[in-house]
Symmetry: C2
Subunit: 251 residues, 2 copies
DNA sequence: TAGTGGTCTAGACCACCTT
DNA sequence: AGGTGGTCTAGACCACTAG
């Protein structure tokens, strides 16, 4: 075995760019396999020891790489069972990708009612948010989300049609879209950025939510990114916040 | 040295409660010293090796405890220099406790203009938020915060006067209050919870911000907690969000 | 019982900072 | 030169899960 402490898994090119720690290289290699779909969501990864053999590093180094991936919620570790590629189940949606909670901070996944699913050419804003050429085909999904029996959120979701061909054509859009992206389109949402503003209800939105025109609404402007770092979804949510609020944690 | 792998640093009582890993026990012991002020913010902790000797564990176990504390931003580690108790400097305020950013996502700490600092008996809401008996003395600070030269936030801050005696009496309130809490009152804000809603400007707030009455505003309702886990500050911020937005990251 | 991740140790060496 | 945290290894044992 290679005795040199600081080294590379693959030989570096002549340019000799910034050297990364071994565990970071291992992490990048595993991430690459996740991106390439070598290991699909829900499947078990090889054991730490096996990965160590594969990469020519010790178990401890593999462990550090896997711990880092687990910290980003890309893999899930279970003592006695193994390490698994993270899936977008309802729990993940509820605790990681949905921050609206009820008065006593109780979490509850909203139901969804699809209003429409239309196709068109990306506007300048849409193209910018999705890193597409302007005019590319996009799908636009509109829906109302119901929290505690009350219509509380009006949402517009914009997707590249190239990435999600025929999405919504047969009107079978589930409540948690990220599961659909993952299972049917092999697109894994890894993280998202949200921009929050206060706005007021248009006549159309007020009607959908059963509130007064110009009532204050919380606007959540979300861009979701896939494993490879590219934006894959743009979502604009208008939330009624008299019975629910957006919860954030600062550390 | 003790050869038993799973053991306790201090002898357990007869009841034998849930056993924690050694590194978690070490972390709790270090945290206890931080709470008790044994090591003040900004000071250097003993080295990993020294702590290992003190607690009777290996350097690796101490390292895992310190890494966990660093992940919570309670200590800061510098290669070659040492491990230091985290301080509330402007960087921490900007990147961890202030989520309003400008249009191009640039961060900028707002200036502050104190409107008033008054004292009174805690209302039911205030008492609940600060875990005080109703009627306890509280200080209420009101200020306007200026972002990019424009008044953008009206803020009310409520503090227990027992915890922050005479705060603001001499009108010397700095821009970043958490530094003051830390230096003068030995209260370290360790984390905070925020609840966001949309609301609309009252006449008084509209006047302060130079906007129309009933204009939409983002309300941030923050409770800040000290190292020992108790609430120490309640803050209600009303933010104008046409030129700035609240930024959140989802993982 | 076998296999997995979780904990803990001991020791080596590296990278960085201060003196 | 000496001290610090950062990386990496090897090996032991524990805790949990499954067949």
């Amino acid at each position: 075995m290679n005795q040199i402490s600081t080294r590379d898994i693959a030989p570096r090119s002549a340019g000799a760019p910034a050297r990364q720690p071994l565990y970071a290289q291992v992490k990048a290699l595993i991430l690459r396999r996740l991106i390439d779909g070598v290991w699909r969501p829900g499947t078990m990864l090889p054991s730490e020891i096996q990965l160590g053999v594969d990469f020519g590093v010790s178990q401890g180094t593999v462990r550090k790489a896997l711990d880092a991936l687990a910290a980003e919620n890309l893999v899930v570790r279970h003592q006695g069972r193994g390490t698994f590629v993270a899936e977008h189940d309802t729990d993940r949606a509820l605790f990681h990708f949905f921050h609206m909670v009820g008065e006593n901070a109780e979490r509850q996944l909203p139901e969804s009612q699809i209003l429409s699913c239309r196709y068109g050419k990306a506007t300048a804003t849409e193209a910018s948010r999705l890193a597409l050429p302007k005019g590319d085909s996009v799908a636009r999904i509109r829906r109302v989300r119901i929290l505690g029996g009350v219509p509380a959120i009006v949402e517009t979701i914009v997707l590249s049609e190239a990435l999600f061909p025929e999405i919504g054509r047969d009107g079978d859009l589930p409540n948690t879209l990220y599961e659909l992206y993952e299972r049917r389109y092999e697109v894994t949402v890894a993280r998202a950025e949200e921009r929050l503003r206060a706005t007021s209800a248009s006549a159309a939105v007020a009607d959908l939510l059963g509130i007064a025109v110009a009532a204050p609404l919380l606007e959540i402007d979300r861009t979701a990114f896939s494993l490879d770092g590219g934006p894959v979804e743009w979502r604009l949510s208008l939330c009624e916040t008299t019975t629910h609020y957006y919860q954030a944690e600062l550390v």
